[in-house]
Symmetry: C2
DNA sequence: ATTTTGACTTTATAACTAAAAAAGTCAGAA
DNA sequence: TTCTGACTTTTTTAGTTATAAAGTCAAAAT
């Protein structure tokens, strides 16, 4: 029963941290605040996580899991490749809005990349593989035509990320208005249309 | 003869500032250094420009002129729309490499947007119009098919900017490696291919 | 009259510092 | 094995001063 309890406690800490982090940002949240929320001591947190950075990473991984759960379900229920790609957009959109205070880029920039960049590389690859799968399925049904679904998928993801960055244009950390989010969504839909058209010839 | 000399002196100042700015960055260049380079007094600079910010904007406008001169020539000599779009990429690439220290984004963020954001909006629109013209010409010759060249052009430019931002993904101010630049170029070429394919159906 | 300048004032930046806050540790209790 | 209060160390922050750079102006030069 040891590992069950241990993992459960880890989960509870991650959830408490997630609440604070999404609301106030990771850097504005202290370990004491998380401990107080959980009615336990700060030292307990350090029993389960070696340092704050590890907790931050765990929270980001948790958010990633939630994202992939949603996105995979969305992809699974779509009738066509076109629908699958277009349905992804609002899911990504809501995810970005919800977790924009999670300071993902701060973590990416800090050179504790020793472990974390592996995590993010994997997440990126997983998402790319998902899109590649959608494209491959589209090719199988004759909906799409391409000889390199993986390459196209990587470009698609990269371009979508680019559109988000080019609009909010610096410091993802601070607040982005609802209009800006909506604008990004519209650009992304248009780009998805072009991609889909481009993959029909 | 007054205005001729006046404009000539302005040009000389802009060129001196351009040299320093591209090499060391605008914020690391002092008005005294520019004045010393020109063998004149700092006060003279202030006779031609109300403040450093105005000089910075003038330098950016100058760079913009150089860019459009190159890009228009490139577009004019291309045989097809496809060639025109693909030829733009290395021109943009070289421009970005040469002028990445010009602190464009710092200027855009600073809310002296009173005058400067108009300048940048116009530059953006000019570039979009150029791409729209290429697309329109492609449509006229039957090379491309679309019912909204302006929209597509805006999306194209936005996506290309996005790809640059998503790769360097941090402070455009500091140095970007040659490999990163090359990587951006490759993504941009791939995206251009997709766009062109998407505009043939 | 227009342009230029040295000497000047004002403003912004960088370099310290002290105080506070937060991170992180550990011996021992539960 | 898990948890904690009391503790030490490290990082942030706020305040201060010194320095550098921005910006001004009356007067000189062209």
């Amino acid at each position: 029963m040891h590992t069950e309890n241990r993992d459960e406690m880890r989960e509870r800490i991650i959830e408490a941290a997630l609440k604070r982090f999404t609301h106030y940002g990771a850097s504005k949240t202290t370990m004491n605040e998380i401990a107080d929320d959980m009615h336990c001591s700060k030292a307990s947190l350090y029993y389960y996580f070696p340092d704050k950075h590890a907790l931050h990473l765990a929270v980001l991984e948790k958010a990633g899991e939630m994202y992939f759960q949603e996105i995979e379900q969305s992809a699974a229920t779509a009738a066509t490749a076109q629908d699958a790609l277009l349905d992804m957009i609002p899911v990504r959109h809501n995810f970005a809005r919800r977790f924009c205070r999670l300071e993902l880029f701060k973590v990416l920039k800090d050179k504790q990349l020793l472990h974390s960049d592996e995590t993010f590389r994997l997440a990126r690859e997983k998402e790319t593989a998902l899109v590649a799968g959608i494209i491959r399925k589209g090719v199988a049904t004759g909906e799409l035509v391409t000889d390199n679904p993986d390459q196209i998928a990587a470009l698609y993801i990269q371009s979508m990320i680019g559109l988000r960055l080019s609009l909010s244009a610096r410091e993802l950390t601070d607040d982005i208005s609802e209009e800006e989010f909506e604008l990004v969504r519209q650009w992304q839909v248009q780009l998805a249309d072009i991609f889909i058209k481009g993959l029909k010839s």
